[in-house]
């Protein structure tokens, strides 16, 4: 999914499920490398976590609001709040671990 300044409120902040946003730019080789992984994870976690990309050059407002300085930056939002923030390229395993942890803590909350 492509996040933009315009759909950010609706698709990310108001999303009923957690959202992972990868902030990227075309001048950032690590971002390019992570792209196929993000696409793969998006399909795999569909329905449990919304996963997508946001180009910081085309969407400067959001990038500025969240003080995105290094790329790629990964932010996970739950109910509009930041629950995870990571900067720099990650392996697929690392990203998976982060996503699973967030989803597990989500489940816990539901049980409590």
């Amino acid at each position: 999914m492509i996040f933009t300044d315009k759909n950010f409120q609706e698709e990310v902040l108001k999303s009923p499920i957690p959202v992972l946003v990868e902030f990227w730019a075309s001048w950032c080789p690590p971002c390019k490398m992570v792209e196929p992984i993000i696409d793969r994870l998006e399909k795999e976690y569909m329905g449990r976590m919304k996963i997508g990309k946001m180009n910081v050059d085309i969407n400067p407002v959001t990038a500025k609001r969240y003080n995105v300085k290094g790329l790629p930056t990964f932010i996970i939002f739950i109910n509009g709040k930041i629950v995870y923030r990571g900067v720099a390229a990650k392996t697929e395993n690392e990203l998976r671990r982060v996503i699973e942890e967030i989803l597990a803590s989500q489940d816990e909350e539901v049980r409590v």
Partner: protein, 519 residues
């Protein structure tokens, strides 16, 4: 409707999109936001080719834009303005005709350095080539191509700046570098000259692009030799590690995704190309320039349809030890009866590509402009071969033409590993619709066919003495000792020896099937 590899690229990729002054890139001071306001902070751009659109969202697909016309190489920008630096060279001239025939507006720059260097070494192009003036006339006469040529040394920034302002290229193909490892190893003067010409020429060009044509794509010729051939067998990725590559140290793990892979150049010439790589990469990062850095395999061959139209349109062909590439020299040696020269073991594995395929690669890259700031490395090879396999193939094809070809092992004047693995990843070109179409044998046949013509054989005889290498990496200047002479059937692949592994996915969905159209 046909699907083209570049259908889904958008204005964000297009060189006609005017970004400077419109897009607020990372605090780079290009923005005039203080005075403006688009509702909701929308990013809008203008189009140089379609000024009537005013300011608009950069979301138009190439498939929706009337300026991107369908061709057999994907969509191409109508009358795209290309500037070829080094247009008089082996590749530059070939590309000029190819692009001209495709409807590009071709401009070119050269200072005829290559002609001078080859002359300096007592050699010449064995395929006769005319003066630039006559070449341009021939291009007009036989192919109806107009070429806007200017004699400029790329190091002369003032002149180059004026020409850039005149031409306003949408893509710049940079072939204006000295392309020879041995030439850079002759002595200090040669090494310094090569590095100065190559590195500083490119560096200056980057500054000019920043100021004059920031939206143009720079297609910069590098070489597979920048990587070297790591003995570990680590794959040669396209410039950067993939995201799943990790650095493991001390029980900890880091992603190497997007980090530049190590380079291990094998001559001072190759070092100049590595330095270029860094300069171009940095410029893209600092100024939102866009570039494809093409790691070209060893190039060979004589044929494109345009070159073959008339003898006056042929591109140069060098066979001397400095400017002749290995397959080209082997064919010359075969015709002259000089045993084909393997250096050392002859087990070196290299990536190769035929001239015609290399030209298609360039068109594919031109048709897929990178995004602002995007620096992408492209491994441009169509096959990996051991040198002794190449020698054997040339000998076999030579036999078809009635030549009795021998192969000799000689002392290796270079410093390089002679027995090594090689694994190459080449995904970026297939993603842009490229498929190798010319087999090694096919092109070698075309080479024999052309080079065994009488007038060329006569020229080959004249430059015979420049073929055997006498430039040693050690600094020596002497004939290498012959270690053994073989007939082609004695040359065999050893059991359990290294073999080149090429990762080149050829099943991309975005392929326009031009073969079907040709039938």
């Amino acid at each position: 409707m046909n699907t083209y590899h570049n259908d889904r690229l958008t204005c964000w990729n297009c060189p006609s999109a005017i970004l400077r002054g419109n897009v607020d890139f990372r605090a780079c001071g290009q923005s005039m936001r203080r005075f403006t306001s688009m509702e909701g902070g929308d990013v809008v751009i203008e189009c140089e080719r379609r000024p009537e659109l005013g300011h608009f969202e950069p979301t138009i697909n190439f498939s929706e834009c009337p300026q991107w016309k369908p061709t057999k190489y994907g969509r191409l920008l109508d009358n795209m303005r290309v500037l070829i630096l080094g247009i008089d060279g082996y590749l530059g001239w070939t590309l000029a005709l190819k692009l001209g025939a495709l409807g590009f507006e071709v401009s070119g720059v050269d200072n005829f350095l290559r002609r001078r260097m080859v002359r300096e070494k007592g050699s010449m192009s064995v395929v006769p080539i005319a003066s630039m003036e006559e070449r341009i006339k021939a291009a007009k006469k036989y192919l109806d191509i107009d070429i806007n040529f200017r004699k400029i040394d790329v190091l002369n920034r003032d002149k180059l700046a004026d020409f850039l302002k005149e031409v306003k290229p949408e893509v710049i193909v940079h072939y204006a570098e000295v392309p020879s490892a041995p030439y850079s190893m002759v002595d200090a003067d040669h090494a310094i000259f090569v590095q100065k010409n190559n590195v500083l020429g490119t560096l200056g060009l980057l500054f000019l692009m920043r100021d004059i044509v920031p939206e143009a794509t720079l297609i910069k010729l590098g070489t597979m030799g920048e990587y070297g051939a790591p003995l570990t067998g680590r794959p040669l990725f396209e410039g950067f590690f993939p995201a799943d590559a990790v650095l493991l140290w001390n029980g900890r793990e880091w992603s190497l995704g997007g980090e530049m892979t190590p380079r291990d150049p094998v001559s001072f010439y190759h070092v100049s190309k590595v330095q270029d790589t860094f300069n171009v990469y940095e410029a893209c990062k600092y100024w939102w320039l866009r570039s494809y850095d093409v790691m070209q395999g060893v190039i060979y061959g004589v044929h494109t349809d345009e070159l073959a139209t008339d003898d006056k349109l042929r591109t140069r062909f060098d066979v001397d030890e400095w400017f002749g590439t290995v397959v080209n020299r082997f064919v010359a040696q075969a015709i002259l009866g000089i045993p084909l020269t393997l250096y050392g073991e002859g087990e070196q594995i290299r990536g190769f590509i035929a001239l015609e395929d290399a030209m298609e690669c360039m068109v594919r890259l031109i048709s897929s402009p990178p995004e602002p700031g995007q620096y992408t490395v492209v491994n441009q090879v169509s096959g990996l071969y051991k040198l002794k396999t190449i020698a054997k193939t040339v000998a076999e094809v030579g036999a078809e033409f009635g030549f009795d070809v021998k192969i000799q092992r000689i002392e290796n004047p270079r410093v390089e590993s002679e027995v090594h693995p090689l694994e190459v990843v080449a995904e970026n070109l297939p993603e842009r619709g490229f498929r190798p179409r010319v087999s090694l044998e096919r092109e070698i046949r075309r080479m024999f066919d052309l080079l065994s013509r009488k007038h060329i054989v006569r020229r080959l005889e004249k430059v015979k003495d420049t073929i055997i290498p006498r430039t040693w990496w050690s600094g020596d200047k002497r004939d290498p000792k012959v270690l053994g002479v073989y007939s082609p059937d004695e040359v065999r692949e050893e059991e359990g020896g290294f073999r080149g592994i090429l990762h080149m996915p050829l099943d991309s969905v975005f392929v326009y099937r031009w073969e079907d159209e040709e039938k």
